[in-house]
């Protein structure tokens, strides 16, 4: 993805996050222009990713930089999907802020390796599919963690009788519904990703990193499934489910940091 488009997308995500944060600070409804700008930014990001895939004739997550960009896009697209299908207004400034950070980190030369320095590797369709699904499930895990944080914060405020005039954002039940969907989506995406990961692990020349990643994905699947089940069947224990979502995000970060730093992408050709 060309850097100018990426920088534009970062700026748009940042502008939307700022507008949402300001609206929240002033206890006002989200401005309509910011919502439209958010949708426009996602559309621009998607267009950039498609153009990149067409231009390179391969998946738009062929290196760490592109993978981060794809992850940022997936996170905001998932946010829009959740909001559009849930009758819950999420006031999702944190989604845009996280996406802005991820997209900024993906700008080549900032921290990511410039594309021309990325190691070339032979094409492997199954592995590309594995990486794509893993990145989408990562977005779902991050969304679940953001929603879980919102749930726990709201829970603490309501429990502590600190409901403020003009409080914005979803209710506890709204967070519960959204986090349940994010958990389910993450688990459903992880199942095929895990299957493809097992296949890649068996074919890998150095099986250790891939094995650790597959193990982490299996643990993540367990966490997401448990969180989904609690959100669905026992919302009374919503705090526990929220902590499971946060544990999933922590596991993801540890996996990326220690075992396979931004490395899912390196196999994605």
């Amino acid at each position: 993805m060309a850097s100018p488009i990426l920088v534009l997308v970062v700026a748009l995500y940042g502008a939307v996050a700022t507008a949402y944060a300001e609206a929240r600070r002033r206890a006002e409804a989200r401005p309509a222009w910011a919502r439209h700008l958010g949708a426009l930014a996602v559309a621009a990001h998607l267009g950039g990713l498609v153009a990149l895939a067409v231009q390179m004739d391969r998946s738009p997550f062929a290196n760490a930089s592109q993978a981060l960009s794809f992850l940022a896009f997936s996170l905001v697209a998932l946010y829009l999907l959740l909001e559009a299908t849930s009758r819950v207004s999420t006031h999702g400034g944190w989604f845009y802020a996280t996406a802005a950070v991820l997209a900024a980190l993906s700008v080549p030369g900032l921290i990511a390796v410039p594309p021309d320095q990325a190691a070339e590797a032979p094409r492997d369709t199954l592995r590309s599919l594995h990486v794509g699904l893993a990145l989408l499930s990562t977005a779902a895990v991050l969304a679940g963690a953001l929603l879980a944080t919102g749930y726990l914060t709201t829970y603490a405020r309501v429990k502590g009788r600190r409901v403020a005039p003009g409080d914005a954002g979803p209710s506890l039940q709204g967070f519960e519904r959204l986090a349940r969907r994010a958990s389910l989506l993450g688990a459903l995406l992880l199942v095929p990703a895990l299957g493809l990961g097992l296949d890649a692990w068996q074919r890998a020349s150095d099986p250790a990193p891939m094995g650790a990643t597959v193990g982490a994905m299996a643990a993540l699947l367990g966490l997401l499934t448990a969180a989904f089940w609690i959100w669905w069947r026992r919302p009374l224990k919503g705090s526990l489910a929220a902590w499971l979502n946060l544990a999933g995000a922590a596991l993801l970060l540890v996996t990326f940091a220690l075992v396979h730093p931004l490395g899912l992408a390196q196999g994605g050709r």
């Binding site: 309501v158 005039p165 224990k237």
Partner: protein
């Protein structure tokens, strides 16, 4: 023409007086008509709510303030005598500013309440319908309505819940997105329970049950609120396993912690308890149970106080908006003050022009006479136009560096000068 406001409101008059002078729409229309027909009145309009009955008058009469008070006493039924000490009498800018404060909710018993905006709008429309409205009050009421709208849109003057019912509804919204299909149990059938129950039901069509010691009262309230069923108090602990929101305004110690612990084992959703009882109906330690949110009267009162605090903090912002909306009206009003002098000047100039035209030969060609008339008209307009514009400009801007209407009259000798 100046504006005067005379009336009775909750700051000065007790409820017993306010309820006597309160006017229904037909009564307000009748008073508007009657006062607007008085010879000294230019424009008249009545604003009557549960907290105030006020008469707004625009008049050029020098003693208009006293006349307005007398008109109020004479035309508003059961109004106390003028020396009763309950009247507020405001003139000129203070009267105009008062109306803007009223519309913005700054003069309301509940700071920032929104109903007054509609009441001011209704009074404005009634004034128009009854023939009491002219340019002065029309512009003033438009400015007030604009100020009220802006105050509520741009500041937090109407934010938050300022009644127990609305505070309870606010908490419900933080736990459950909306109440559609949720089970609400109302324990107690008193007035408080009824008020808060009504506020909660505005959040959606809940499945409501009413429990009360006296079955007849429970049935009455259930019918009034459209509840699905009634139940005796003894069944309340069992119902805790199913209800989402339990609103209690009944006897003390109705629900103990063991009742809740038993219920939680069978529940799947969080439980919100709103305890309006004094002494409390629910064991206060219930709030420690995971998934249980207990709000007692003290907690609700803190929410109300927080909302009122936020509204009070917004008052300076509202005052700024009122000033922004009032300033153009005041400028326009000051400009109106220069009009009599300008009108007199125009009349004098026209007389001079006509007198000079009389010297034209009687047999002058009609086309030429027409051209001369047009020429003199244009000449007068051009000679006086700039001066009069500067006088109006000076009056509107209250700018002492510009000529005043008084100076204009003196320069052209338009009025009798007092002798030395």
């Amino acid at each position: 023409m100046h504006v005067y406001a005379v009336g009775i409101d909750h700051h000065l008059a007790p409820l017993a007086v306010r309820e006597r002078v309160a006017l229904d729409p037909a009564g307000a229309a009748q008073v508007t008509r009657a006062v607007a027909g008085l010879p000294w009145v230019g424009e008249a309009l009545v604003l009557s709510t549960c907290n105030r009955t006020e008469l707004y008058v625009a008049s050029a009469a020098p003693e208009a303030a006293e006349l307005a008070l007398a008109a109020f006493v004479r035309h508003v039924p059961a109004a106390p005598p003028p020396d009763h000490g309950v009247y507020r009498l405001l003139a000129h800018e203070a009267a105009a500013r008062h109306l803007l404060r009223v519309a913005a909710g700054l003069e309301s018993a509940i700071l920032g309440e929104t109903e007054i905006q509609g009441q001011v709008r209704a009074a404005h429309e009634r004034g128009r319908a009854e023939g009491g409205l002219g340019p002065v009050l029309d512009r003033l009421f438009q400015a007030a309505l604009r100020a009220g709208r802006r105050a509520r849109a741009e500041t937090r003057i109407s934010d938050g819940s300022v009644s127990h019912g609305h505070a309870a509804a606010q908490v419900v919204q933080r736990v459950f997105e909306r109440l559609d299909g949720h089970r609400v149990l109302l324990v107690g059938a008193g007035e408080v329970a009824q008020q808060v129950g009504r506020a909660l039901l505005q959040l959606g069509p809940a499945r409501l049950a009413v429990a009360n010691r006296t079955p007849e009262h429970a049935h009455e309230l259930a019918a009034a609120l459209g509840a699905e069923r009634t139940l005796p108090l003894a069944e309340v602990p069992e119902e805790l396993a199913h209800a989402h929101v339990v609103l209690l305004a009944a006897g003390p110690n109705l629900i103990g912690r063991p009742d809740l612990e038993r219920a939680l084992r069978r529940r799947r959703d969080p439980l919100l308890l709103v305890d309006l009882g004094v002494p409390r109906c629910v064991d206060p330690s219930a709030n420690e149970l995971p998934g249980v949110f207990l709000y007692d009267l003290g907690a609700l009162e803190r929410l109300v106080a927080a909302a009122l605090g936020a509204r009070r903090a917004a008052v300076p912002d509202v005052e700024r908006i009122l000033q922004e909306e009032l300033a153009p009206w005041l400028a326009w009003q000051r400009g109106l003050g220069a009009l009599p002098a300008i009108r007199t000047l125009a009349q004098w100039a026209e007389e001079v022009r006509r007198a000079e035209l009389a010297f034209l030969p009687a047999d002058l060609d009609p086309a030429l006479r027409e051209a001369v008339e047009r020429l003199t008209e244009r000449l007068v307009n051009r000679l006086l136009g700039r001066a009069t514009a500067r006088v109006v400009q000076g009056a509107r801007a209250d700018d002492p560096s510009l000529p005043t209407a008084d100076q204009l009259e003196r320069v052209f000798g338009l009025r009798e000068e007092a002798g030395p």
